[in-house]
């Protein structure tokens, strides 16, 4: 799996943050972030809560706009259009289609059945026929082991099942990039394993680019090609999982890992 430097232009970068800053009012969350994720790479962001990890995912998904800097998906800026003007909504939507995001709180649509949750976007965004979108949905439900829940409502499922459905819903759009935002943080401890197992399988069976935010260090170690330690809106250390988890250089990384692993 290719790894890439945390700054500088990469021809094959699936995601590239160039000098990106993000503030909410007076609160600066990211400051001059340079980050590049190669196509097919699996990068995990670790770090304390409030360090800006989720903001990175939200910016890549265009749920928030950066205060400064540029973000590129497969070489195309999602911030600026031709001539440096802000991206038009339609263009942004086309670029965003290459990304899929799974959220901490699942965010399934509670009034729709599992199948309806999975077919809505393929039908209305990709304009697939009812049969095609249903077939695709069933394929992905099978992938997450929940084909038999197609007629259930999210409220009838466990947290782990809901999160697996949310993963299937995102995959049904066949994204090139999968953004996973603390997908096990809302789950009871005994439900975490089933969700992580699904992600491991997807990582093994596909060449999707992963950008993961997690507090599951063992999972991060197993699934990642590269791990970046975030603190106060910037990357303070990055490297292979072995390097970060076995021989961290920064004191901050060491203390963070100690506090997480001691729990």
């Amino acid at each position: 799996m290719p790894t890439s430097p945390s700054s500088g232009i990469s021809a094959v970068a699936a995601i590239q943050f160039a000098n990106v800053s993000k503030s909410f009012g007076a609160n600066s969350v990211l400051t001059g972030l340079d980050l590049s994720v190669a196509a097919g790479e699996r990068l995990t962001l670790i770090g304390p809560s409030g360090s800006g990890k989720t903001t990175v995912l939200r910016l890549a998904m265009m749920l928030d706009r950066p205060t400064a800097g540029d973000i590129r998906l497969f070489g195309e800026s999602i911030v600026k259009g031709p001539g440096g003007k802000p991206r038009r909504a339609r263009e942004a939507a086309r670029l965003r289609r290459r990304c899929g995001m799974v959220f901490q709180q699942f965010n399934l649509f509670p009034h729709m059945t599992v199948l309806q949750n999975l077919t809505l976007a393929p039908r209305t965004v990709l304009r697939l026929s009812a049969e095609e979108s249903e077939q695709r949905a069933l394929d992905h439900l099978r992938m997450v082991g929940l084909e038999d829940k197609r007629t259930a409502y999210p409220g009838q499922l466990s947290g782990g099942q809901q999160q697996r459905i949310a993963i299937a819903r995102t995959l049904a759009l066949r994204p090139d990039i999968l953004l996973l935002d603390e997908i096990t943080s809302s789950l009871d401890p005994e439900l975490v394993g089933e969700v992580l197992e699904v992600v491991r399988r997807i990582a093994q069976e596909t060449d999707i680019t992963f950008l993961i935010v997690t507090h599951e260090m063992r999972f991060a170690r197993q699934v990642s090609d590269r791990v970046a330690m975030f603190d106060s809106g910037r990357i303070i250390e990055e490297g292979s999982p072995e390097l970060i988890f076995s021989e961290p250089r920064c004191e901050r990384t060491k203390s963070f890992l100690r506090s997480v692993l001691d729990h």
Binding site: A93, R97, F103, Q105, F109, P110, V125, G155, T170
Partner: protein
């Protein structure tokens, strides 16, 4: 004065005709209130600040003026401006539009209560604004609003008695006419009260049924 059963039998057809008229008024008003309220809430949410302020102004105006004043204005004042409408039409329009303002507040609250994560999910899936509203936000807001909306329909049903003031032959009007003709008011008004109360029950039943059917859908 004693209860007079033959008199009850004599006035019952007129009262039942009043029940039918009340039912028609309530249904027509409810359609305007529930549909119009949704339109007001969606416009208010989608429009920029001027649009929101305009909707807010209309809502406050409609909620701030007594129903009778608006009814009299529609029925007696509008003809002097060259607009003559039937009493039924004025009554339904006035009650419907006033309650649309109330319902819009219910929908607005329901829309505000939809978690930000749902909006994020719609955006992350690339759903268009139309699909987001049509398939996700409006269905969720409507489901969350049902108990309050049913309550408003019940209030509407009772307030339809106001239409008597402009001559719509609703149940109360029929009772009044029956009483005035015979100078017996005990039976007409007692029966009117009982009929209003009895007709409440189907709505209450529908509300309970809705809650039972959707208990597993945590909206």
């Amino acid at each position: 004065m004693t209860w007079n059963w033959p008199y009850v039998a004599q006035i019952m057809p007129a009262l039942l005709a009043g029940v039918w008229e009340t039912f028609l008024v309530t249904v027509a008003c409810a359609v305007i209130a529930i549909g119009g309220g949704l339109v007001l809430a969606v416009v208010s949410s989608l429009a920029g600040r001027p649009g929101r302020l305009a909707v807010r102004g209309v809502v406050e105006l409609l909620r701030g003026v007594p129903i009778l004043v608006v009814l009299y204005f529609g029925y007696y004042a509008l003809p002097q401006l060259g607009v003559t409408l039937s009493a039924f039409f004025v009554g339904v329009l006035v009650l419907g539009v006033i309650y649309a303002a109330y319902c819009s507040e219910v929908y607005r609250g329901a829309l505000l209560s939809i978690p930000a994560g749902t909006h994020d999910a719609c955006a992350a899936l690339g759903l268009s604004t139309v699909v987001t509203w049509r398939k996700v936000l409006i269905p969720l807001a409507v489901r969350r609003s049902v108990p309050a909306l049913v309550n408003y329909v019940l209030v509407l049903y009772r307030q339809s008695a106001f239409l008597f003031a402009i001559g719509v032959p609703v149940l109360l009007a029929r009772a009044q006419v029956a009483g005035d003709q015979s100078f017996r008011y005990l039976e007409p008004y007692t029966l009117t009260g009982v009929l209003y109360l009895t007709l409440n029950l189907p709505f209450v039943y529908l509300l309970h049924r809705h809650e039972a059917r959707h208990a597993h859908i945590a909206v």
